[in-house]
């Protein structure tokens, strides 16, 4: 059903693209209308927009979990496991330990146990959960569960990494640390990233570009480039240009909200 609408075109640079995409839920809610979004290999795009504007819907379309009602999706990926999606909720197997949850994508790909375990330990250390590897999800805090879900996406070594407000439930210090860890991992593994966030500050700190969406039905209202080289450091957060970019994103959000009201 989905295959019909996805035209796979060999285009080495574009991992996935939404072209004039509209999406209507079965109950008639028009979540997206005329959305244009292209994810290039190795790029880092942040997506901000008011609650309910269709950000999650857009990610699910990019992941291939939904088919568009109108418009087209182009995806250059074929194999399973090439897309990782960190859902807005942790979405863990409740009966499996933290370690087994993170190992799941590797098991499904039948990767040798020894190698898998090594990757899992690395990812768990990266998100700061090495200590609780044997705990069950219900024994963790909400923020810890979210980090497990992030570790699971990291081990799957995708080409396209979709993150849906992954750090919204974390305190600021942890969040800053994980932002940096994510950037480091991205730098070494070079996925194309779409990062959804409610935080204007986070979007500017992380992305090469920030896309601002309108209220529902969502489409791109503004595209703000962040011409700051990586690695980004805390000094960037304190800089004049950072704050200027942040206020540009904020203004774009307000304009988008006013225009639709």
């Amino acid at each position: 059903m989905i295959a019909q609408k996805v035209a796979v075109r060999p285009d080495p640079d574009t991992l996935a693209a939404l072209e004039e995409v509209a999406f209507v839920y079965p109950n008639g809610v028009v979540a997206l209308a005329g959305l244009e979004l292209r994810v290039a290999a190795g790029s880092f795009t942040c997506l901000v927009g008011p609650s309910g504007c269709g950000k999650t819907t857009a990610l699910r379309l990019l992941a291939g979990l939904l088919a568009p009602s109108r418009g087209r999706i182009r995806r250059s990926m074929r194999g399973p496991g090439e897309v990782a999606l960190v859902f807005q909720d942790p979405t863990l197997l409740p009966w499996a330990t933290v370690r087994d949850n993170v190992e799941l994508p590797l098991r499904l790909r039948r990767i040798a146990r020894r190698e898998a375990r090594r990757e899992v330990e690395r990812a768990l250390d990266l998100v700061g959960l090495g200590e609780v590897a044997d705990a069950y999800p219900h024994e963790l805090s909400g923020g810890m569960r979210m980090r497990v879900s992030l570790a699971r996406a990291l081990v799957s070594r995708p080409k396209l990494m979709l993150l849906d407000e992954p750090f919204a439930a974390l305190d600021e210090i942890t969040r800053f640390r994980l932002d940096d860890e994510l950037l480091t991992a991205w730098g070494s593994q070079g996925w194309g990233v779409v990062f959804v966030t409610h935080s204007v500050f986070e979007s500017v700190y992380l992305g090469q570009q920030v896309l601002v969406m309108t209220p529902r039905p969502g489409r791109i209202a503004a595209r703000i480039a962040v011409p700051e080289p990586y690695p980004r450091t805390p000094a960037f957060r304190a800089s004049e240009r950072y704050l200027r970019l942040c206020s540009r994103v904020s203004e774009a959000l307000e304009r988008a909200a006013d225009a639709s009201a």
Partner: protein, 261 residues
């Protein structure tokens, strides 16, 4: 917590003692003859005196109920897995299973007893017919109602049908399977008793239900009550064993399921 559990146990012990004491008192003070209502002391005496008859009968009935329960667990679980894997089988077999469930055993038992010559086997078959459905339908429900977000995750990771069964559906269904098994445990005993009533097996292979009937024909009320008591205790024991099994299998992996009784 622990002291509260102890208090509860003490209270229920006292309640049972009070009931038995009251019963004995009513029988003695009211001078009710034993062929109408025997007191608990007389029942205990009958249990002791007739143990050579009741003991083997108890074993027979327990064996029938136990075998039926095992067969129900294996058959119900396996059939549920098959139906979950194949829509075809589900369309074909589900109506049959439901039909078997709604036909009262009492009415099938004589038929089964005609066709199956080996009496014990026939009794087990009857008890199995009663016990089968709860395990089966609960397991099928658990297999089919997995978390949709987790299903999306498995899809993204390109899990095969069998991987989804093994890593997602079977663990999701385990608590439902065990809940079904607890219902089936009680029903297996009911089925065994009803089938024995219908079969009326006398002699060395007679079960508790037949001994109960026999005592009734002889107006041996104390023995009738003793047999009844053994049946009740069997039910309690089966229930308790299955609760232990449930707790042991779910352990700390399934947080919410453990509380319910």
């Amino acid at each position: 917590m622990r002291s509260r559990a102890r208090t509860e146990r003490l209270l229920s012990g006292l309640l049972v003692a009070a009931l038995l004491g009251g019963w004995e008192a009513v029988v003695r003070l009211g001078e009710i003859p034993a062929y109408i209502l025997p007191g608990p002391l007389l029942v205990a005496e009958a249990l002791w005196r007739d143990w050579t008859v009741l003991g083997p009968a108890l074993l027979t009935t327990l064996a029938i109920a136990g075998l039926a329960l095992l067969a129900a667990a294996a058959g119900g679980g396996l059939l549920a897995v098959l139906l979950a894997l194949s829509r075809w089988l589900e369309a074909g077999l589900l109506p049959l299973a439901v039909t078997l469930q709604v036909v009262p055993v009492v009415s099938i038992a004589p038929l089964v007893l005609i066709y199956v010559e080996e009496v014990t086997l026939a009794l087990v078959l009857c008890a199995w017919l009663v016990a089968f459905y709860p395990v089966f339908s609960n397991t099928l429900f658990g297999l089919k109602h997995t978390d949709p977000m987790l299903r999306d995750l498995f899809r993204l990771y390109g899990a095969s049908r069998l991987q989804r069964l093994y890593y997602l559906e079977l663990p999701s269904a385990l608590p439902h399977f065990l809940a079904g098994l607890r219902i089936s445990g009680g029903l297996a005993l009911v089925g065994a008793v009803v089938a024995e009533f219908a079969a009326g097996t006398a002699g060395a292979r007679a079960g508790l239900a037949f001994r109960l009937l026999e005592a009734g024909w002889r107006l041996d009320m104390p023995r009738m009550f003793a047999a009844l008591l053994l049946l009740a205790l069997s039910g309690v024991a089966i229930h308790g064993l299955l609760a232990l099994l449930q707790r042991w299998l779910l352990g700390r992996r399934y947080p919410r399921m453990r509380e319910d009784r």
